[in-house]
Amino acid sequence: MKIKLRGADYIIKILELLEVDALFAYPGGAILPIYDALAFSNINDILVRHEQAASFAANGFARVKGKPGFCLATSGPGATNLVTGIADAYADSIPMVAITGQVNLPLIGTDAFQETDITGICLPITKKCYLLKDLADAERIFREAYEVAINGRPGPVLIDVPRSIQLSFIDVDEDWESKFAKPVYTRLSNFIEEDIYKAARLMVEAKKPLIIAGHGALLSDAWREMREFAKREHIPAISTILGMGVFETHDPLYFSWLGMHGMKYANLAVQEADLIMALGIRFDDRITGRLKDFAPNAKIIHCDIDNSEEDKNVKVAAFIHGDLKLILNQLPNTATIEAMEHRTAWVDHLTDLRDQYPIKSVDYDVFNMISAIDVLEKLSPEDIIVTTDVGQHQMWASQYLNKIHPNHFLTSGGLGSMGFGFPAAMGAQAAAPDKHVWCITGDGSFQMNLQELITCVQEQWPIKILLLDNSYLGMVRQWQEQFYNKNYSGVDILNPDYLLLAKAYGVSAASATNTEELAKAISLAYKTKGPFLVHAKVLKEDNVLPMVAPGASLSETIYYPQDVICNDAKLQEKNAKKLLAHKVQSYA
């Protein structure tokens, strides 16, 4: 027996069968039939205030939930507003399905009102785009798009649905829903025994092996295997920024993250290693520094799900193509007595390097971004989710947050999109309603998507925002100071009165000009049921260090000036005393 379904209802039913539980969306003319169907669906459609926020939120949702994020917009400007978030997802390999309305099929190509070639626009920033021309293809296309998004190297896909298709009708079997098969993630093992053997030989021969853990380890849910592997083999590890959370920060084998603002000891570890095990990384220029001088003494084993990464930026001695979880389970135990002697000496050496080049000490008497981030962490529980925007605060958050759990630190790594943090926090909160979600942002980035404050109010999301306001586009200013002779141009940013702004949106807020006030504000934020904006007016001029200057080698990592205090236990004690009063039940 056949039943007749309207296109829009059919598509929404397909989304339900794909178990879409959150749809970040904004309506408009060419998507109205879908909205009509949504009114009768159990899908939670979240009305953002700008489509860019929808695609960033879908990104945040996907990272936390471990399944594709969905966003929806109308044709033309609605669709183009999604683009930055789609590009961001492509750069960071985030599974996402973007659905756009399109003008009626016969109107495509006539420069119709709100017509834009969104599939063409998105070609370079998606794994695949679809224009749905026949409703009979809808089920196949949506299933395939979902499958493409999650399988292999994850990424965004786009489905463009003309309004006339949404309004057309289809006859389907009465029991079509029970026959619907939701695509599943298939772990790829394109490697052979010889690849594993080759890698094992290199491990046996190495005296100074080093793991670099990337985002791939989180995407393939291989972080447990990675920790066990490092422990079993006694091989020290560092990570990329997107790989934060793969290892526990306090794991004695973990030596923080590398790259442009990575720890000097992590960068030096790369330069001294004789074997790099690159696990789920893509050798971005921000982590390699000057490519020809990257890891000059090391042979490289590269494990990745995407074979186009083989020898792409860095020549490798062995490439293992497949899912990291499967690869790690296959790599044999090479921890012989001899190997353990070498590896123990190597770990000891790296520990010495860490002692020699520690991170700058936090001083609560100076109210800068570092002390603000540190106060937040000290007053927060173990498993908060943190999103960041892009700029100095992003680097300092990466450097100073120590409680990061896997998939709990969301940042725009590859594309570096300002405006990412707040909507990504919305996605994270939708994915994990019971978790504390904080967005650490700067005054430049926050102004790119602050309209979403009202979305949080409407959705009753208790997202907390730590707005680090230095009245500068700080990272750009830093580069102008360091590389453009302090010729400050376009960086002096005027800010609104954030407390009044929050009030206008119905969001609770507090300001802080020192660490004590900040501690009080954070405590209040935790006690407040709804969203909360903490406006921290921090030191205006400050530079992120360590730093590898553009075009320089990791060996040339700039460390702090001599007068900067590092690793000062007394300072830590003093800071702790200052916080004591506020730590009590701040997040109960």
């Binding site: 070609l123 370079p124 794994k127 695949k128 224009l131 190297r153 995407d306 186009s308 792409k312």
Partner: protein
């Protein structure tokens, strides 16, 4: 500079040619010749001829093999 001749087996979709060409266009490059032929409802074959040095050709290759609808690239000749 060298002449590169490739045969690309691919899925026949509305965007496949665009995506292959994208790997050239995004680096400001262009092919010397392009021949795309549908083999059946789902498969196609695309032959490209272009003049670039080995390094550029290598990077284009990486970009093309990343595409979902590319099944195989056969390097026919390099002159």
């Amino acid at each position: 500079m060298q002449k590169n001749y490739w045969r690309i087996k691919c899925n026949h979709t509305p965007e496949t040619v665009d995506r292959i060409m994208l790997s050239f266009r995004k680096r400001g490059l262009m092919v010397d010749a392009l021949h795309y032929k549908k083999l059946d409802d789902s498969l196609a074959e695309c032959e490209v001829e272009f003049t670039e040095d080995a390094e550029s050709a290598g990077r284009i290759y990486k970009n093309v093999i990343r595409l979902v609808d590319i099944l195989e690239i056969e390097v026919l000749e390099t002159v």
